[in-house]
Amino acid sequence: MSAEKFQNPVVRWIDHRLPVFSMLDHEKYDYPVPKNLNYMWNFGVLAGLSLAIMIITGIVLAMSYTAHVDYAFDAVERIMRDVNHGWMIRYIHMNAASFFFIVVYIHIFRGLYYGSYKAPRELLWILGVVIFLLMMATAFMGYVLPWGQMSFWGATVITNLFSAIPVVGDSIVTLLWGGFSVDNPTLNRFFSLHYLMPFVIAGVVVLHIIALHRFGSNNPIGIDASGPQDTISFHPYYTMKDMVGIAVFLLLLAVAVFFFPNAMGHPDNYIPANPLQTPAHIVPEWYFLPFYAILRAVPDKLGGVLLMFGAIAVLFILPWLDRSPVRSARFRPLFRIFFWLLLIDAVVLGYLGGKPAEGIYVVLSRIATAWYFLHFLVILPLLSVFETTKPLPKSISEPVLKYPSSRKGPMGAGLEPAE
């Protein structure tokens, strides 16, 4: 029985009645993890850490924030100038939001490269896409709260997306606003929801982890562990490996917070919101730019909105679009090329989303948008049928023991774990 596992009598007493220590112990020691995970597998933990940082700093910021159109901007400036350490806490909140998206984008592309969305991990992947959607909603509403020019006009543009819906569109927008334009009721409800959503995300994260622990982590060669010789315990091996990633992550976050706090923001948001004047060139936060580019690529209101949401919707059905039984791109030479093309395409879309919607940028946006959907809806299904994959190793241990010098993966070059 698990209760005897603990030396400390208090821990033993509690665990006998409330087996939380047994549960922790189980996750730490009994949960088998493939022994060949590279540093790309750090990003799940980093995303969790980002969420924790956002929730903690957010709760603290809410203590000094006022959700009212007349006071919100000044409340944020007061946080920056008067509240003890307020500047630092707000800059951490601002920059950790960007870092959260960086981490999650890497996490997503890791999943795409190594086929982590394939059976039996489809629900794990879908829950991840749900988290991504919730994050986008949370980030958008958070950006509205400082009530600067970008806040106001971002809120106006994004809520107006829903007006593209036929028949009921305008009624939905009025409902979202609680009035006839973005105003005080909008700010109030966005603050309420911005506070709520992170906890919803945390709930979905729990489901995400439950789904993950059902079959365990995928791994760089994408084959299932064939037995205990292919796995190691999470603690201390991966806790230590995650610590390295956490240290690097926090170091970079500190560099951003203390030296370039506004690099990922927009200066126009330090101008108080003015409902009578739109800034000349409005852009969303950088992490929305690829989707913004897709929106603007389509010369039709409804079409643009549908395609933008479609860009995320397509991720939901990805496990059924890519039907190749081989998970890892290491054994799929063609898929690997297309993976990198998709990554470049996403970066190009992000670049175009930040440019004015005119001239060559519109043309390029259309090409990049077409490629994005072509990749998921045409190329992946075709590859599943026509691609000749390389032979898979018999077990996770085999390639390591057989070719000790050829341990270089395209994404984790030279970053394999040392056992």
Binding site: D25, Y29, D30, S64, R81, N84, H85, I89, P236
Partner: protein
Amino acid sequence: MAKSDTKKSTRSRRPEDAGRRDFIVIATNAMFGLGAAAVAWPLIDQMNPAADTLALANIEVDVSKIEEGQSITVKWRGKPVFIRHRTEDEIARASATDIADLRDPESDEVRAEKPGYLVLVGVCTHLGCVPLGQKTGEVKGDYDGWFCPCHGSHYDTSGRIRKGPAPTNLEVPPYTFLSDSVIRIG
């Protein structure tokens, strides 16, 4: 993998390494604790008064308009401050009191820089209610000073506790006379 195997594999097999390993573990945990405390401090300290709150911590009051026998109440740091222009009789009674009889012994000379003006924080030292006695017609208690209606504390004409549950005298805030007629509180 079972816990016992893991523990064995992480421990050094050579006994002479044990002390060194313990040192590394303790030093790491200590650094982690320090780091956690350093992170926690700004998050806690932000609840302390902000700079703009502290900037409002001083007020200046013109007391020349207060007639003898009259009191005014001003707000300082969110709390009421009583300023009373005392009558000769009140001053006499306050200074005549035998200090030995008091729960919180303090002479009237210490409490009022200029005997004519008594400055008090108008918050009962029991549980924070505002005592009565500022306005004419209000109950002033058995000692003709202030009376707290919440739990029945009686204060004398020097704001000293004479009867009831309050443990100490009404607090005298830090103040200075900038001129004969203007005082700065805080």
